[in-house]
């Protein structure tokens, strides 16, 4: 569905993305993992067209993303830090986005109601806590029932209860055979849902494998253990040689 070919991005001195290649398909739940500044968010933003890669190509359903913005109607994006017009109220924000999208699709307002946003319609965006902001972001991302969900640190700042609601929702969407892209530092969050793992470091793609493959390779069950194993034991020979070529 989304194909990434030879993407490079440099911010002044920092190589944010270094020759990334990947293909994401329906039914996959891909966990983007890596330390801070490893390029996760840059990769997501590149897919969304918010960051323009220096070279390479990103296609959505084989159409380059730079060609037509219409593909974004198939993507629900939940940013790491949701930033919204300060002087808008929650109700206005939702009605504006609905108005702009003007879609005939049946809206998925499950999160909207579960997070009780309907009781906060008159709250100004300026006055919102980080957690409520996240709820707004999440509700917006799922609202149009998109084929692709891109969730950047979805559970950060959410209280445990809401976090649980969100995770359940992600699982439901996974069942609908959607493509879901998640970054998170909290590996346990990703545990039950991940099908594939992409590990980034210093803008380089260290590995991109299915859970099954990783479990087999490391002999570990849990994602956190798998990652720890991979870090501790160094990378598999194959990856090492790959790294050499890459650098």
């Amino acid at each position: 569905m989304i194909a990434i070919q030879n993407i490079n991005k440099r911010f002044k001195k920092l190589q944010a993305l270094d020759n990334i290649n990947a293909e994401f398909n329906k039914g996959q739940v891909i966990s983007l993992i890596g330390p801070n500044g490893s390029g996760k968010t840059t990769l997501i933003k590149s897919i969304l067209g918010l960051v323009r890669p220096d070279n390479g190509l990103i296609t959505f359903n084989s159409v380059p993303v730079t060609e037509d913005v219409a593909y974004r109607s198939n993507i629900g994006y939940m940013p790491q830090i949701g930033r919204y017009p300060d002087n808008m109220k929650i109700g206005q924000l939702f009605s504006m986005i609905k108005n702009l999208r003007n879609t005939a699709k049946v809206l998925d307002e499950e999160l909207y109601f579960k997070f009780k946003l309907d009781t906060l319609l008159d709250k100004s965006m300026r006055a919102l806590s980080g957690g409520t902001r996240q709820k707004v972001s999440a509700a917006l991302a799922f609202l149009f029932d998109p084929e692709v969900l891109i969730l950047d640190e979805p559970t950060a700042g959410l209280d445990p209860l809401s976090s649980e609601i969100l995770k359940e929702k992600i699982l439901v969407e996974k069942e609908k055979n959607k493509l879901i892209l998640i970054t998170s530092h909290v590996l346990t969050d990703l545990e039950e849902i991940t099908t594939d793992v992409m590990y980034l470091q210093d803008g380089k793609e260290i590995f991109f494998k299915s859970m099954a493959e990783l479990q087999e390779q490391t002999g570990e069950e849990k994602l956190s253990k798998i990652i720890a194993h991979m870090m501790k034991n160094g990378l598999h020979k194959k990856e090492v040689s790959y790294l050499k070529i890459a650098t």
Binding site: K45, L48, L50, V51, R52, R72, I97, L100
Partner: protein, 255 residues
């Protein structure tokens, strides 16, 4: 696009600066007409408002608004909306509200007290300068990294067009006073929208002086109907070019 502009407008109306700007222009214009016995003197003072204050406010307001609505712009760009559409909607929203503020604040008093060629040309130039300097402000904002630099760049541009440029022209006129400079002067004034606007209004105001001992050539060219079309054409180019560059640069920008 109009849909987005609507939200931009809504946002601008809410933050009250625009209402303050309208009220400021209105009070200043009315009091000028009230204080001066003859309206032509009031028009002279208004000319300064149009040439100095209107560009300044247009630039500062547009720049600040741009940075303040960065979140909004980001949000729009996660939606299936192209960047060009977003920036053009912002431009339409800001410039139309600035022009409206100008036309209410200055336009109504002018229509009441001095509705003639001079008045109409003053309103026309004021509106065009608003559009031009909003466009320049967009360029400065898109090109600058942060708010402080953006506002700094906008102020510098304003300072350049309002003051420094004329100083340079005067220097050139004196440095090369032995040469025939009429055509060059004409070109030089086309390179500054404030100058061009000023001359346009002046030709409707001080015709006698301009036509006088020296300015006959300017009057003959710029005062003719083809000259007016030339002036307005150049001013429109002044609006379009920075905006186009801003759109291009915004298209390549990382958010």
């Amino acid at each position: 696009m109009l849909k987005i502009s609507k939200y931009v407008l809504y946002d601008i109306i809410k933050n009250r600066v625009m209402i303050g700007y309208t009220a400021f222009l209105f009070i200043v214009s009315i009091s000028m007409f009230q204080m001066e016995e003859n309206s032509s003197k009031a028009m002279l003072s208004l000319l300064n408002i149009v040439l100095i204050v209107v560009p300044l406010i247009s630039m500062i307001f547009s720049t600040i608004h741009w940075y303040n609505s960065y979140e909004f712009i980001e949000l729009m760009l996660t939606q299936p909306i192209s960047r060009k559409k977003v920036i053009l909607s912002e431009y339409t929203g800001i410039s139309s509200s600035l022009v409206t503020a100008f036309l209410i604040g200055v336009g109504i008093p002018v229509c009441i007290y001095n509705f003639n060629d001079t008045g109409v040309s003053l309103l026309l130039i004021g509106s065009l300068l608003t559009l031009i300097f909003t466009s320049l402000a967009f360029l400065a904002s898109v090109k600058s990294k942060d708010k402080a630099r953006g506002i700094g760049a906008a102020l510098l541009l304003w300072f350049y067009f309002a003051l420094i440029y004329d100083g340079l022209v005067l220097l050139i006129l004196f440095a090369f006073s032995d040469y025939p400079l009429e055509k060059i002067t004409l070109v030089l004034s086309s390179l500054n929208p404030v100058d061009l606007g000023r001359i346009f209004i002046m030709l409707n105001m001080d015709i006698s002086a301009l036509m006088g001992y020296t300015g006959a050539m300017y009057k003959d060219f710029l005062g003719s109907s083809s000259g007016m079309i030339y002036t307005l054409g150049i001013l429109i180019i002044w609006m379009l070019v920075p905006l186009t560059i801003a759109i291009r640069s915004f298209n390549k920008k990382d958010l």
